[in-house]
């Protein structure tokens, strides 16, 4: 069911305001794109939005993003009401961050992607999950997972150094070490390269 012209205009205005980074004509283009994608999806849920599969394909072809785990997570960050479908609002606002977000917005996005269980921390297990396929060449004499576990330790040491220090001082060795948003933010501000530390979740410039 298509929206009325007035309805579309209201939508464009409100999205231009909320997404902040796009102007009106850009928002219109994105809405048109949305409609195209929805048409491709199953017609049953046309009013609600398009689903995970369509989303993954779109991002793959538009931005060259290939990591399935990551794409899944990005879908989840877009899908704020968690209904399994991306609505037009979620679509435009999500893209605003992806394409034109400030450093703060991008940091929040990346952190949300990496925080697999959404508990506000990136744990060692979550890091392991994301990095487990990152070692292309394994030394023959090592256990397959050792290399990845070491890499996780290296990452944790780099980004959560103050946290580890505190736990050491408190003689609290039970903490298996995890990264809060503050840790992540501090590390990224110091070294911008760490923004996508656990996998590419932003579009490539090229």
């Amino acid at each position: 069911a298509a929206m009325s012209r007035k309805g579309v205009k209201l939508l464009v205005d409100s999205l231009t305001r909320s997404a902040k980074h796009f102007n009106k004509s850009e928002v219109e283009c994105l809405i048109n794109l949305f409609d195209t994608l929805v048409a491709r999806a199953s017609s049953q849920f046309a009013g609600v939005g398009f689903d995970r599969t369509v989303f993954r394909d779109t991002l793959h072809s538009a931005f060259g993003m290939t990591d399935d785990v990551v794409l899944d997570r990005v879908f989840s960050t877009f899908d704020r009401d968690n209904n399994g479908y991306i609505s037009v609002v979620e679509w435009v606002e999500g893209l605003a961050v992806l394409l034109r977000g400030t450093l703060e917005e991008k940091m929040k996005h990346c952190f949300a992607v990496y925080d697999l269980n959404g508990d506000g921390y990136i744990s060692k297990e979550e890091m392991f999950q994301m990095l487990k396929n990152s070692l292309l060449i394994q030394p023959a004499d090592e256990e397959p997972d050792e290399g990845v576990k070491d890499l996780v330790e290296i990452a944790l040491k780099k980004m959560a150094s103050t946290y580890l220090l505190i736990s050491f001082l408190l003689q609290d060795y039970d903490h298996d070490g995890k990264l809060s948003f503050e840790d992540f933010e501090k590390a990224v501000r110091e070294e911008k390269l760490l923004l996508e530390a656990f996998g590419p979740c932003l579009p490539d410039i090229k």
């Binding site: 990095l131 292309l136 290399g147 890499l151 290296i154 390269l193 996508e196 530390a197 590419p200 410039i205």
Partner: protein, 626 residues
């Protein structure tokens, strides 16, 4: 064989302003043969860089930067683990994050001389030059800064040029913002480009390449910026390139002198030093000297003399003052700032590079009579004379000039003589270097002229007259000219002239007569004129064939040559045989034109000579026809 020859030709084209590290650097042997802890740390991270995907690589690279990369052990560990090759290979990928992470490390460790040679050997420079084409600004900046570090030796600089690096670096200076505003991002890009160009500009061919790439107007534009961080490499580059006349011309015509003068008053000593150095080099040209004065640069230069602690700055400033003082108007201006008094205080306890310039400056200040007296009153003569015993060639040349300048005042001469200064000057005639010999001989002229009991003094130098006469055998034009000038003065004393005649001064002078060099001609003619006044020297000059060449001197365009020649011919014309030769060579007609000159000495000599010739002609006619 050919490649060896071409590389040595390139070597000749280097400027010598900085010490260079062109031989393969030798590694210091560490005490223990055990691998350092840094080695294992790097080894572990290298595993992920070699075998990981971009995500793992970036994590490892970021972690590597936490290690103390400025420590040599760390730097060498990166090389020894083979990690350096991996870092360079990463540069060759299209992964911007990996390239960035790698360059951040390479930039740090390339401070180490062994590492930068290794980077060049591994082909890292070519790749970095390619990266200068990247659309990513941060990446370009990092590449430029790393090139700046690696290009500290000759071969690296050549490689940068051969792969089109100079053009790309000059492009980095092209700001995209409006003429007058300097945006932060553009300034940063330009700063990194300038740093790299500064390093590269140490090679002569690169200086040319920068110019051909249109670098000069861009350097001029950035010179107007007020951020010290970019001004330093910009002025550094200009100062380095100012050894080329084309750059000096451009610095003058593009209005850069004004900016250089302005920055002399900066708070940053390094910037002040580079500005002073640039002015030092550019002030070779008269127009630049005038521009420095017009833009009120002489005052800040004088003020900077107060900073005695920073020797490099002091050397640059005294150098600039020296060259600016070549122009008399500048000397007068400098006097307002009491420069002579200050310079005299710098004659003691200073490193040689400062002394050379201080003495050079004082020598130029002697153009003004007042300053000659000031030097004496400030007690400047004694330290100057002391420096005559130095062994530094450049210093000696300047000291000689300064002592000669002071010797123009009889009062100063008395002090110089009492300190044995003339004997020291005379012994410098034995110095193997022709520049030292010539400057010593020039300085002896006023000494001989103004000393009390000059004749006796000269005689007191054992073997001195023989020494100076023998210098007429030198192959160096300036030596010959200065020695002739000295001999002309010495010959005013009859006894000394007799001794010089015994040592064969006449044939030696005659041998020099066939020259087209007007400066030599002038002083040679003066020497001949004075040497005529003993015994049968006039006849001897005729016999040794000096007369005909002298006649030709009258055709020169230089009035000083005319005067000296007329004097010589007048003296020579006392001998009838010489008159005949002169007549045969058309001397009369030429001298007639000079009889009407406003120069009294020339007028008299010309007239006297013509009279002698005419008298002889009349006597001959009379004898023939009764």
């Amino acid at each position: 064989i050919f490649s060896k020859a071409s590389s040595s030709l390139e070597d000749i084209g280097e400027s010598s302003s900085e010490t260079d590290e062109d031989e393969q650097p030798v590694r210091r042997q560490e005490g223990s043969t055990d691998l350092s802890p840094e080695y294992w740390g790097i080894q572990k991270l290298a595993k992920y860089v070699k075998g990981g995907d971009p995500t793992a690589t970036v994590i490892a690279l970021c972690s590597m930067r936490d290690l103390n990369l400025s420590q040599e052990a760390c730097q060498l560990a990166i090389k020894d683990t083979g990690c350096l090759e991996v870092l360079i290979n990463l540069l060759d990928t299209e992964e911007i994050k990996c390239q960035t992470g790698s360059l951040k490390i390479l930039k740090e460790i390339s401070q180490n001389v062994l590492i930068r040679h290794a980077i060049a050997d591994l082909g890292g420079l070519e790749i970095m030059v390619k990266i200068l084409d990247s659309p990513d600004t941060d990446l370009k900046c990092l590449a430029a800064e790393t090139i700046a570090n690696v290009a500290r030796f000759k071969r690296a600089r050549k490689t940068v040029r051969q792969h089109g690096g100079i053009n790309r670096l000059v492009e980095l200076l092209e700001s995209i913002s409006l003429e007058s505003s300097f945006q932060a991002e553009d300034t940063e890009t330009a700063r990194c480009g300038a740093l790299a160009l500064w390093s590269c500009s140490k090679s002569t061919r690169n200086k040319k390449a920068i110019r051909k790439a249109g670098g000069i107007p861009l350097l001029a534009r950035w010179l107007k910026c007020s951020h010290t961080s970019i001004l330093i490499p910009i002025v550094g580059t200009l100062q380095e390139c100012a050894s080329e006349p084309s750059y000096r011309l451009a610095i003058r015509t593009e209005g850069m002198i004004e900016d250089l003068v302005k920055n002399l008053s900066s708070e940053h000593e390094e910037l002040q030093m580079h500005c002073a150095s640039a002015i030092f080099k550019c002030a070779e040209d008269e127009e630049t000297r005038d521009l420095v004065r017009k833009h009120e640069g002489l005052q800040p230069l004088s003020a900077l003399l107060d900073n005695c602690e920073n020797k490099q700055l002091l050397a640059a400033v005294t150098g600039a003052i020296w060259k600016c003082a070549i122009s008399r108007e500048n000397v007068l201006k400098f006097q307002e700032y009491k420069i002579v008094e200050t310079l005299v205080t710098l004659l003691t306890d200073q490193p040689e590079e400062v002394l050379i310039n201080v003495i050079g400056a004082l020598g130029e200040c002697c153009q003004e009579q007042e300053n000659r007296g000031t030097i004496r009153r400030c007690g400047g003569i004694a330290p100057m004379v002391k420096l005559l015993s130095s062994t530094n060639r450049a210093l000696l040349v300047n000291v000689n000039k300064a002592v000669g300048g002071c010797a123009m005042e009889p009062e100063n001469m008395a002090v110089i003589d009492s300190l044995d200064g003339v004997r020291l000057l005379w012994s410098l005639l034995k110095n193997p270097n022709p520049d030292v010999q010539a400057s010593a001989a020039w300085a002896l002229c006023p000494c001989v002229e103004n000393a009390k009991n000059s004749g006796e003094m000269v005689r007191s130098f054992v073997g001195g007259l023989e020494l100076i006469v023998n210098l007429l055998k030198s192959k160096d034009k300036e030596v010959l000219t200065s020695v002739c000038a000295a001999i002309a003065n010495i010959a005013k004393d009859q006894e000394n002239l007799a001794v010089m005649t015994d040592h064969g001064v006449v044939p030696l002078l005659s041998k020099l007569a066939n020259t087209n060099n007007n400066k030599l001609r002038r002083h040679l003619a003066e020497a001949i004129a004075h040497c005529c006044m003993w015994g049968s020297n006039r006849v001897a000059f005729g016999e040794t064939k000096a007369v005909a060449p002298l006649a030709r001197y009258l055709k020169a365009k230089d009035p000083l040559v005319h005067r000296a020649t007329a004097l010589a011919l007048y003296q020579l014309s006392e001998d009838p045989n010489n008159c005949v030769i002169m007549h045969e060579n058309g001397v009369v007609k030429l001298l007639l034109a000079m009889v009407g000159s406003t120069d009294d000495a020339l007028q008299e000599a010309a007239a006297g000579c013509i009279a002698n010739i005419r008298r002889l002609a009349l006597a001959t006619e009379k004898a023939k026809y009764g």
